[in-house]
C-alpha cells in the first residue's frame, strides 16, 4: 500500500517537475534526457539474459542537485525469446501493476555540473522497482561539455530486495543479482 502511494508520489513529483519546467522554460539549470540506453543482464550459470531500452525519461536539476527518472518496464527488448519477455513482464515484474521503475533523489558531490569537465558523482535516492522503493547510492561518471551532459553508471540490483520471487526451477537460469548499466545524455531545457 505504502509502495503504491509512494509510486503515486513519485509520479506527482515528476508531473510537478514537468509543470515547473513548462512554466520556467527560461531556466538553464534544468536538463532532460535526450538519449538513453538502459541495459540489464542476468548472468546465471546456465543462461545469460540481456535486455535493453532507450525509453528512459527524466529531469536533472544541476543547481538543486536533484533528479527524477522513470523507465517503462514493458519497453525492455532483446530477451532470448518472446516467451522469456512475456514471463519477465507477467511473472516477475508484473508490468501491468507496476509499469515503471523510478529513481529519484539527489546528487551527493559538490561539483558544479554547469562547468565543462569529467566528474564521478554519487546519486543517492529511492530506486523503485516492482512497486518497492529502496534506498540506493549509485556511482555515476559524468561528462559535461557545452551544455550537454553525458552520464554512465553501472550498478546491480538484488531481486530479493524488490520482492521479485524466482521459482526455484529457474534458479540456475536467472541470477539473483541483476547488473544494470545506464547511459544517458542530457540537454538543457531550452528552446
Amino acid at each position: 500500500m505504502n509502495n503504491i502511494s509512494y509510486v503515486i508520489k513519485v509520479g506527482l513529483c515528476l508531473l510537478a517537475l514537468q509543470i515547473s519546467v513548462i512554466t520556467c522554460l527560461a531556466q538553464t539549470n534544468l536538463y532532460k534526457v535526450q538519449k538513453s540506453e538502459v541495459v540489464f543482464s542476468s548472468n546465471a550459470p546456465k543462461e545469460l539474459i540481456k535486455a535493453s531500452t532507450d525509453n528512459l525519461e527524466g529531469i536533472l536539476d544541476i543547481q538543486k542537485k536533484t533528479f527524477a527518472f522513470k523507465v517503462a518496464i514493458i519497453s525492455f527488448m532483446g530477451f532470448n525469446s518472446p516467451l522469456q519477455r512475456e514471463h519477465f513482464n507477467e511473472n516477475y515484474m508484473e508490468s501491468e501493476k507496476f509499469p515503471f521503475a523510478y529513481f529519484t533523489g539527489k546528487i551527493i558531490e559538490d561539483h558544479d555540473l554547469g562547468k565543462n569537465g569529467t566528474y564521478t558523482i554519487r546519486a543517492k535516492g529511492k530506486l523503485t522497482i516492482h512497486g518497492i522503493a529502496q534506498e540506493k547510492i549509485i556511482s555515476v561518471r559524468v561528462e559535461v561539455k557545452s551544455k550537454k551532459i553525458d552520464t554512465h553508471s553501472e550498478f546491480s540490483v538484488l531481486l530479493n530486495d524488490y520482492g521479485i520471487k524466482i521459482p526455484r526451477i529457474v534458479n540456475d537460469k536467472l541470477a539473483s543479482e541483476i547488473k544494470v548499466s545506464v547511459t544517458a545524455s542530457f540537454i538543457a531545457f531550452k528552446n
Binding site: 505504502n2 539527489k106 551527493i108 558531490e109 559538490d110 554519487r122 543517492k124 547510492i137
Partner: protein
C-alpha cells in the same frame, strides 16, 4: 612513571605484529536458524543485551534469545538508554519504550508518517532522532523538526552525537553538521567536501576518547577526525586507501583504537598513531555489518544482516602458523627480547615470521625440550640428551655450553637469576656462575641441588626465578620447592596418596606464586599460604595442570587437559575456554610448560592451528554473571507490585529468575533462600522456585548466581513481600474479642451480684415476716381467746381440750419449722393451716365456715409462699364480724394456676389495731421469688386475694 606508562601503551600496541585474528562465534537469532538482520545493539543496566532486528526486539542473556513483544511489527532501527527507559525506534517512524517484557508505544502529539528513523540519542529528558527527513527533537511528547530550511546541509541524517547539552554533531548525506541548539532554534556549521571532507556521505559519528575529538565514518573514504573545540577537520593520513566500503557503525575502544563495521562485511580495527591511521581488517564473509557493542565482560558483539557474532579481540587472539607446524610436534616456545618467537618442533628450532610461516634455524641431534631467554637476550636451548646450547645477544651462531656436567644431559628446564644460570636435568639442578664477559667458556659449576642436598627429588619439571631472585622448583616427588640461596622450603600441600607432583610454577603481577599440579589442580601462594584456587569449580573438573603462565595485567592462564582457564583477579572467577564454546579451538598441547610470554607480557599457548594469544587486558573486564528476577507469581498470576502483601489463605508464590553471562553462560548455577522462612541457601540449576502455603510474615527472596560454587562475591537479586496475617490473628481482632469476653464476664458477675443481693433481701424479708407472724401468734388477743376457749373446753369436754392444746402447740411448732423455706407445697401449707383452723373453729364454731375447693392433684404439685394462707385467714377474722348470725365464709379455689382466697366482707365496727404488714409482706416475698404478682381487692362484696401457684 609516565614514561613507563607510555612504554606500556607502546608495548600493548606492539602486539599487532603477527597475522593475528581474534576468535569469533556466530549466533542465530531464531530457532529456525534463518538469517535475521540485527540492526542495533544495547546492553542495559541489568546486563541483558537487547538486539533490534528486522522482526522486532530480542533480549539476550548469553544463552537464549527472548522475543520482546511489541505494539509494532516493523524492523527495529535504533535504541538508546534514556530517562524514560530503553527507547526503541522503528523503520516506520514509530517509537516505543521497553516495559518489562513488552515494548509500549511512546505517544507523540503528532506521529510521523513513513519517516525512517536511523538513530536515536538522549539528552536529559529529550530524545533526538536522526531521520531521513531531518533532525527531530522530542521533548515531553512534543516534537520539533529541523531540516535544510533551518540550515542543515541535508535532510538525511544517519546519526548524531552530543558534544555538550547545547551542541551536537550530525552525520548527513552532505557532510558533518555542527549544530548549536539555542532553545528552539539551531545554528549550523557545515563541513563538506568544500571544507576538505573526503566524502560527503557521513554515515556514523562517535567520540574518539580524546577531548573534543570525534570520529566520522563515511560511505566511501573510511574515517575522518573532527575537532569540535577547534571546529575543524583534522588532517589524517593512511598508508593504504580505505577499501572496505560504507561504515555502518563505529566502536571507539580508546584514544588509539576504533573498530569500524562496514556494509561490505569487514570489521576493521583502525589504529591512530600521530595523525596516521593503519587498518587491520577482518572479513565476515557474506555478511553486512550493522552494529557494534562492547559488553562489560570485554566481548565485542557484531550485529550483521544474518544474526549476531561474538568477537574476542579484547582478550583472545589466534596466530595461524603454517606447515610444518603441527600441535603434536611442538615441544617448547619462547619470545626473545626483540619479540622474535622461537619455537621447537621436535628436534628442529624455528623462528616465526609475522606472516605465520616458519624459518628453520637449526636441527639438533635430539629433541629440544626447553627454550629460555634471559634479560640479556641470551637464548638458552635445552635438549634431551644433547646438553645445553646458547645463542648470545646479537650473534647468529648457536653454541653448546662446554660444561662436562651438562654434556650428555637431558635438560627439563632453564632459568637465570642475577648472575647465575640454573639448569634442571635428570640429576637435580645445576647452579652455574655466568661470567660478565659473555664468554661461554668461562661458565662454572657452583653447586648441584639434588635429592640428597635437600630438594627432595632429582626430577624438576620447571625452574622459575621470582622477583626476589629466589628459585622455585616444580618437582616430581617433592611438590613445590623454593631455594632462597641458603635453604630449601617445602610445603606438604600437593601430597596425594603416592604423589607429590608439581608441573609448573609462575608468578603473577602482584607477586603471588601459582603452581599447577598433578591430580591436585591449581594452587596459589599468597601471604605465605598455599590455596587451591579452583576448588570451587563444579564442572569440567580437570585436575592436571600442564602449564601455568601469567600476563602483565594480572590474568593467570592455566592449561588443563580439556580446557584453558584464565583467572580474572577482579571478579575472582575463571573465564573457561573449551571446545564447546564453538570458537574453533579443540585441543591444546599436553606438553608440560609449553607457553611463552612476549616482552609486553602477553601469554601464548600452542593450539592446533598455531598459537593462542591471551592478551594483556586493556581494563579489568567484569566476567561476574548477573541474575535478574523476571517474574513473581502468586497463584499463577503475575504480580507487578513492589513489596506486595499476599493473602494468608491463598499463597502459592513462584519466582522466575534469569542468569546473564556472556563468558560462560553454560556454567551458571544459582542459590536462593527465603529470608523469614529459612536461613539456608538452596543450590539449583533451575530458574524457577515455588513456595506453597507460606505462614504469615515478612519475607525476602534472595537469589544469587555464580559460575562456580563460590558465591562470596556473587551478584544478587531480591524481592521483599509479605503474607498477611489472617483476620483472627490480627491485633485489633484479638483485642476486640478479649473486650467482648470481658464484657460478658462482667455482665454475668453483675447478674450474680444482683441475684445474691435479692436472695439476701429475701432472707431479710422472710425473717421480718416470721417475726411479724410470731408477733401475731403471741398476740395477747389471740392468746386470750385461745385460752378462753381452752378453759371452756376443759370444763365441758376435757378430751377435746387435750386435742386443742396439742393443735395449739403444733401450730407453734410448725411456725418455727417452716421459717427457713422459700416455698412449700399446698399440702404442707394446708396441714399447717388446719392446726390454725382447728383452734379458730373451736372458738367460733359454725360462725367460721371454711370452703376448700382445691383438686387433690394440685395439692402436691403446686407450691406457694409458706404461712401465706394462715395470714389471709387471720386477716379475714381480724377485719370481719364472725358471728352465728352472719358467719364468715372463707373460700379457697383454684383459677388458672392461681389460688383464690376470698371471704365475705362484714366489717367490724371497732377496728383492731393493724400492723398492716401481713399482706404487704406476702407481696414482697412473691416479688422476690417470682415474676408473678399477687392480686387482691374487693370484688362483688367479697375480699379476694389471688396467689399465683408455682
Amino acid at each position: 612513571m609516565r614514561k613507563l606508562l607510555l612504554l606500556f601503551i607502546n608495548a600493548l600496541l606492539s602486539i599487532i605484529t603477527f597475522g593475528q585474528q581474534p576468535f569469533h562465534r556466530d549466533y542465530w537469532l531464531n530457532e529456525s536458524r534463518t538469517p535475521l538482520s540485527a540492526n542495533c545493539l544495547l546492553q542495559d543496566s541489568s546486563g541483558y543485551i537487547f538486539i533490534g532486528t528486522d522482526e522486532g526486539l530480542l533480549r539476550f542473556n548469553g544463552y537464549r534469545f527472548t522475543k520482546i513483544s511489541s505494539f509494532n511489527n516493523a524492523p527495529v532501527t535504533a535504541m538508546v538508554k534514556a530517562s524514560q527507559g530503553i527507547i526503541v525506534t522503528y523503520s516506520n517512524g514509530e517509537i516505543g519504550t521497553v516495559h518489562q517484557d513488552t515494548v509500549q508505544q511512546f505517544f507523540l502529539e503528532k506521529t510521523f508518517s513513513n519517516t525512517k528513523i536511523n538513530a536515536v540519542i538522549a539528552n536529559k529528558n529529550e530524545l533526538w532522532l536522526s531521520t531521513d527527513q531531518g533532525i527531530c527533537a522530542i521533548n515531553n511528547k512534543k516534537k520539533t523538526i529541523y531540516t535544510t530550511q533551518h540550515g542543515l546541509s541535508d535532510d538525511y541524517i544517519y546519526s548524531m552525537h552530543f558534544i555538550d547539552p547545547q551542541r551536537l554533531l550530525a552525520a548527513t548525506d552532505h557532510g558533518i553538521n555542527d549544530v548549536h541548539i539555542i532553545q528552539d532554534k539551531i545554528s549550523v556549521k557545515t563541513f563538506t567536501s568544500k571544507n576538505g571532507l573526503p566524502d560527503n556521505i557521513v554515515t556514523a559519528i562517535a567520540p574518539a576518547y580524546k577531548t573534543s575529538l570525534f570520529w566520522g565514518g563515511t560511505q566511501q573514504k573510511g574515517l575522518v577526525l573532527y575537532d569540535a573545540a577547534a571546529q575543524k577537520l583534522l588532517p589524517i593520513q593512511s598508508a593504504t586507501p580505505w577499501q572496505w566500503g560504507q561504515i555502518n557503525a563505529l566502536l571507539p575502544i580508546d584514544a588509539h583504537h576504533v573498530w569500524a563495521a562496514t556494509e561490505q562485511g569487514f570489521l576493521v580495527q583502525v589504529v591512530l598513531t600521530d595523525n596516521a591511521l593503519s587498518y587491520h581488517p577482518y572479513a565476515f564473509t557474506n555478511r553486512k555489518l550493522k552494529a557494534l557493542l562492547l559488553d562489560y565482560s570485554g566481548n565485542i558483539w557484531v550485529g550483521t544482516d544474518k544474526g549476531l557474532t561474538l568477537f574476542t579481540p579484547e582478550y583472545l587472539w589466534q596466530i595461524s602458523i603454517n606447515a610444518p607446524y603441527r600441535l603434536r610436534d611442538i615441544t617448547t616456545l619462547c619470545f626473545d627480547k626483540e619479540n622474535t618467537c622461537w619455537l621447537a618442533l621436535s628436534n628442529k628450532l624455528y623462528t616465526v615470521e609475522t606472516t605465520g610461516s616458519l624459518n628453520a634455524e637449526k636441527q639438533f641431534a635430539s629433541t629440544i625440550s626447553c627454550l629460555y631467554c634471559d634479560n640479556h637476550n641470551r637464548l638458552w636451548i635445552g635438549t634431551m640428551g644433547d646438553g645445553l646450547w646458547c645463542k648470545l645477544n646479537g650473534e647468529n651462531q648457536l653454541k653448546k655450553v662446554p660444561l662436562k656436567t651438562l654434556n650428555q644431559q637431558s635438560i627439563l628446564s632453564i632459568t637465570t637469576s642475577t648472575d647465575k644460570l640454573w639448569v634442571a636435568g635428570l640429576n637435580g639442578v645445576e647452579e652455574i656462575a655466568l661470567p660478565a664477559s659473555n664468554n661461554l667458556d668461562e661458565v662454572n659449576d657452583i653447586k648441584q641441588h639434588t635429592k640428597a642436598s635437600g630438594v627432595g627429588t632429582d626430577y624438576i619439571y620447571q625452574l622459575f626465578t621470582d622477583t626476589k631472585d629466589r628459585i622455585w622448583m616444580a618437582t616430581d616427588g617433592a611438590g613445590v620447592c623454593m631455594y632462597d640461596g641458603k635453604q630449601y622450603f617445602h610445603w606438604d600441600i600437593f601430597n596425594t596418596k603416592d604423589n607429590n607432583v608439581a608441573y609448573s610454577v609462575a608468578q603473577d603481577m602482584t607477586g603471588n606464586i601459582w603452581s599447577g599440579t598433578l591430580y591436585k589442580d591449581l594452587y596459589r601462594y599468597k601471604n605465605e599460604k598455599w590455596e587451591n584456587i579452583r576448588n570451587n569449580e563444579t564442572q569440567d573438573v580437570d585436575v592436571n595442570v600442564f602449564t601455568v603462565n601469567t600476563n602483565r595485567t594480572g590474568q593467570v592462564v592455566a592449561v588443563f587437559q580439556r580446557c584453558i582457564d584464565v583467572w580474572y583477579p577482579e571478579s575472582s572467577l575463571f573465564r573457561h575456554f573449551n571446545s564447546r564454546l564453538n570458537m574453533g579451538f579443540d585441543s591444546t598441547s599436553t606438553v608440560l610448560n609449553c607457553s611463552a610470554k612476549d616482552t609486553a607480557g602477553n601469554v601464548y599457548i600452542p593450539f592446533e592451528k598455531g598459537l593462542l594469544l591471551f592478551k594483556n587486558l586493556r581494563k579489568q573486564w567484569d566476567i561476574k554473571p548477573r541474575v535478574v528476577l523476571t517474574g513473581v507469581e502468586n497463584d499463577f498470576k503475575k504480580t507487578t507490585q513492589q513489596q506486595p502483601i499476599f493473602k494468608a489463605n491463598t499463597n502459592f508464590i513462584s519466582f522466575h529468575f534469569d542468569g546473564i553471562s556472556f563468558t560462560n553462560p553454560e556454567r551458571l548455577n544459582y542459590r536462593y533462600r527465603l529470608e523469614g522462612y529459612s536461613q539456608n541457601w538452596i543450590h539449583t540449576n533451575e530458574t524457577e522456585v515455588t513456595f506453597p502455603k507460606l505462614p504469615p510474615g515478612n519475607y525476602v527472596f534472595q537469589v544469587q548466581v555464580s559460575l562456580n560454587a563460590d558465591f562470596s562475591t556473587a551478584q544478587e537479586a531480591r524481592f521483599a513481600f509479605k503474607i498477611a496475617t489472617p483476620i483472627w490473628q490480627r491485633g485489633w481482632f484479638v483485642a476486640s474479642f478479649l473486650l467482648l469476653v470481658g464484657g460478658i464476664v462482667f455482665l454475668l458477675i453483675r447478674q450474680r451480684d444482683k441475684r445474691n443481693k435479692r436472695l439476701a433481701q429475701l432472707k431479710q424479708e422472710r425473717i421480718l415476716f416470721e417475726y411479724e407472724h410470731l408477733k401475731t401468734q403471741v398476740n395477747p388477743h389471740f392468746l386470750f381467746n385461745s385460752l378462753n376457749t381452752l378453759t371452756s373446753l376443759i370444763e365441758q369436754d376435757p378430751e377435746s381440750a387435750v386435742t386443742y392444746t396439742e393443735q395449739l402447740s403444733d401450730l407453734y411448732r410448725n411456725l418455727l419449722s417452716y421459717k427457713g423455706n422459700d416455698w412449700v407445697t399446698l399440702e404442707e401449707e394446708w396441714s399447717f393451716l388446719a392446726n390454725y383452723l382447728y383452734i379458730q373453729e373451736s372458738r367460733f364454731g359454725s360462725a367460721l365456715q371454711v370452703v376448700k375447693n382445691i383438686p387433690k392433684a394440685l395439692m402436691k404439685s403446686k407450691k406457694i409462699v409458706p404461712l401465706s394462707l394462715q395470714l389471709l385467714v387471720e386477716n379475714a377474722i381480724k377485719h370481719n364480724v364472725v358471728s352465728m348470725a352472719s358467719p364468715l365464709v372463707v373460700k379457697f379455689e383454684i383459677q388458672n394456676d392461681t389460688l383464690v382466697v376470698s371471704n365475705t366482707i362484714q366489717p367490724k365496727l371497732s377496728k383492731e389495731k393493724e400492723s398492716g404488714l401481713g399482706l404487704a409482706n406476702i407481696q414482697k416475698r412473691y416479688a422476690l421469688l417470682s415474676d408473678k404478682p399477687i392480686r387482691f381487692g374487693k370484688n362483688d362484696g367479697v375480699w379476694e386475694v389471688r396467689l399465683p401457684l408455682l
